[in-house]
Amino acid sequence: MVIIHGGTILTVTDGIIEGGSILLGDDGRIAEVFASHTEVPGATVVDAADKYVVPGFVDAHTHLGICNLEVGEIGEDENEMTNPATPACRAIDAVYTWDSGFADALAGGVTTVFTGPGSGNVIGGQSITMKTAGSDIEKMVLQDPAGLKTASGENPKRVYKGKNQLPSTRMGTAKVLREALLKARDYKERRAGAEPPATDLEMEVLCKVLDGEIPLRMHSHRADDMITMIRIRDEFGIRMVIEHGTDSARIRDDLSKAGVAVITGPLLDVSPKVETASSSFATPHLLHEAGVLTAIMTDHPVIPIESLRLEAAIAAYEGGAGEQEALEFITINPATILGLEQRIGSIAKGKDADVVIWSGHPFKASSIAEKTFVNGRLVSEVKA
């Protein structure tokens, strides 16, 4: 057992506790959160006086470990661009857990990530949710599959137009997705019948989408792309999360009405494409105000994963969100989008003991993540 004596504890879901204590149990969960300084016999004491104690951050859209840092092309296993629909591709088969991005994540206080295929294909493949500490992928994974990566807008049509193949237009992209889902619906019906078809790995995962087991994680920047994809969502009665949503503020009331969550970002970059022109740190707050469940991503390696907190900080002070709301964008909100709000995303009794001790408020650029605990174990330490 470990007892952390705060400090300022930003629980996220239960206010700010000054001078309280947190007991991390041997089972990897938070055993207790004390509102005042409390000694627990037998527990290893970690003194966090004058420090900030913060839940591990959650980055709900990354390519961590799939786009290996440092090695260039040979480490890129992001897009199987040999076919615009590759639903059977699985992120778990491509995550290199020794990639230095994982250490960066811990140094940036990020303890859980959603990592998956890129946006080169209309249907990219199956993403996973995983902790960032460890090396054994089987032990790090929380959800597999966590969602099916899909993409609209510029990227898939640029890739396949270059090969003179379908899709080379937005209409083509919608066709690829719709056709896959229609085929899967047919497969599902036949699977339930007297003469079930041979197992088709692609159809099997699409059936999980049709059954609502996993959402489509839909890469969309432009407002019209989001509207198109929500149309397809409703044709099939499936679940969908909007990724990037660069132009989402423009249609925030529609998104709110549609009950779709948006993971905004990457924000700490120079907008690279026509469809990202309206990129703004004000977007997450505008969405939140409209009632849209909102998170912020790095899209690592687009923005280095350790900068997630800086994106949230700018959203807080320049984007109008304020500190509490912006903190939620990188903790409980992405946890909720992932369906993991009972396990991660805040400091509360019974949740995973993913706790980070910061030298100052994590929204100060000069603050350092001095100690990072994942599942109650100290996994990263920086001497101040």
Partner: protein, 369 residues
């Protein structure tokens, strides 16, 4: 006359508390300490000289555009010293106004890194109706590029395919330009563009990220007795003694960038810390658009977190940069200096310290809503 009171004024060199700064026309005319109570037109928690991004592609590679707005690299030839950045700068790049929102008022805009000799740069303000209005000095600086970028851009078609090829092309064109200078024959635009550099009137900017490329840049500069700056310089900490002994100048950065390539793999804020502590003359850059100039200020916070003093990091984006550019009166807030100013709500290197007002030449060019 504009009177500005700042709780903390960084004047380019040191921090002065409760400062009253008086601006008349385009210039700062007075700086007084201990003036917190006087009436003022503006008050700010922090005030600094406008920041300078020392190796930028702003205006040359326009935000949110693809091919249409990308004029960084004339990569039809690997050696193009006759290109001038000023001819490609768009005053409509939306990043220009965003830079003002981050307190950046000035940049040295350079051609990109695809060519071993990219062309000549332009020192520009981040505001102006045309590139001419933006310009402070042009042409200024010759962009050289070592490492993988020129190999990748050209190697399939022409030299260079290797680092040896990179160095050869630079040595070759400088040798020929030197020869041309001595016995001028037929007019040659490439060699003409290099004459001010060979005469010590211009400065070479070598983009070199890996330690071996940094050392190659120093070797080439010495062979031709060039004034030079190493830009990028992610591996500078590995060759710190050599850089100090050679009295080299480094423009390090960006501090925040994806490490998704071999040459960038060692990028870490601590490398900049080592450099700033070493005595090597060091500026910090955003390297826009690799990292947005608007948030140069926040990348400085990472260095403060690693123990560098606020005055040192702020100097590295103001007075040190101006000195490297030879821009007298820029990068500082002293009587007589240009009134390029940034006013902040809090500590400039922290996200919370947002910019409230930005001035160029005494004109307010950005006001926070």
């Amino acid at each position: 006359m504009i009177r500005i009171v700042a709780q903390h004024l960084f004047d380019g060199h040191e921090i002065i508390n409760d400062a009253l700064v008086t601006v008349d026309g385009a210039r700062v005319v007075g700086v007084e300490a201990g003036s917190a109570t006087v009436e003022a037109d503006y008050t700010a928690a922090w005030m600094t000289p406008g920041f300078i991004d020392l190796d930028s592609g702003i205006g040359l590679k326009e935000e949110s555009l693809g091919f249409e707005g990308n004029d960084l690299n004339e990569a039809t030839d690997a050696v193009t010293p006759e290109m001038q950045a000023i001819d490609g700068i768009s005053p409509y790049d939306t990043s220009l106004h965003k830079s003002l929102m981050g307190g950046v008022t000035t940049a040295l805009v350079m051609p990109g890194s695809s060519n071993v000799v990219g062309g000549r740069g332009a020192i520009v303000h981040m505001a102006g109706a045309t590139a001419n209005d933006m310009s402070i000095r042009t042409p200024f600086g010759v962009k050289f590029s070592l490492g993988n970028d020129p190999k990748q851009a050209h190697g399939q078609k022409r030299t260079p395919m290797t680092r040896m090829g990179n160095a050869f092309l630079i040595r070759d064109v400088l040798t020929k330009a030197r020869d041309y200078k001595e016995k001028k024959k037929e007019y040659n635009m490439k060699y003409e563009a290099l004459l001010p550099l060979l005469a010590g009137e211009d400065v070479a900017f070598f983009q070199a990220l890996r330690a071996d490329d940094i050392i190659t840049a120093v070797r080439l500069a010495q062979e031709f007795d060039l004034r030079y700056v190493i830009t990028g310089a992610f591996d500078a900490d590995l060759v710190i003694d050599q850089l100090r002994n050679k009295k080299a100048t480094v423009a390090f950065g960006p501090i925040i960038m994806s490490r998704g390539a071999d040459e960038i793999k060692r990028l870490h804020p601590e490398n900049a810390v080592t450099l700033l502590n070493s005595g090597v003359r060091t500026a910090i850059i955003a390297g826009h658009p690799n990292y947005p100039a608007r948030y140069l200020r926040i990348s400085l916070g990472l260095l403060v977190g690693h123990g560098i003093s606020p005055a040192t990091v702020l100097a590295a984006v103001t007075s040190v940069s101006a000195e490297i550019l030879g821009l007298t009166g820029y990068g500082e807030v002293r009587p007589g200096s240009m009134a390029d100013l940034a006013l902040f709500k809090g500590e400039p290197w922290e996200p919370e310290g947002v910019v409230e007002h930005t001035f160029i030449g005494g004109n307010e060019v950005y006001t926070a809503s």
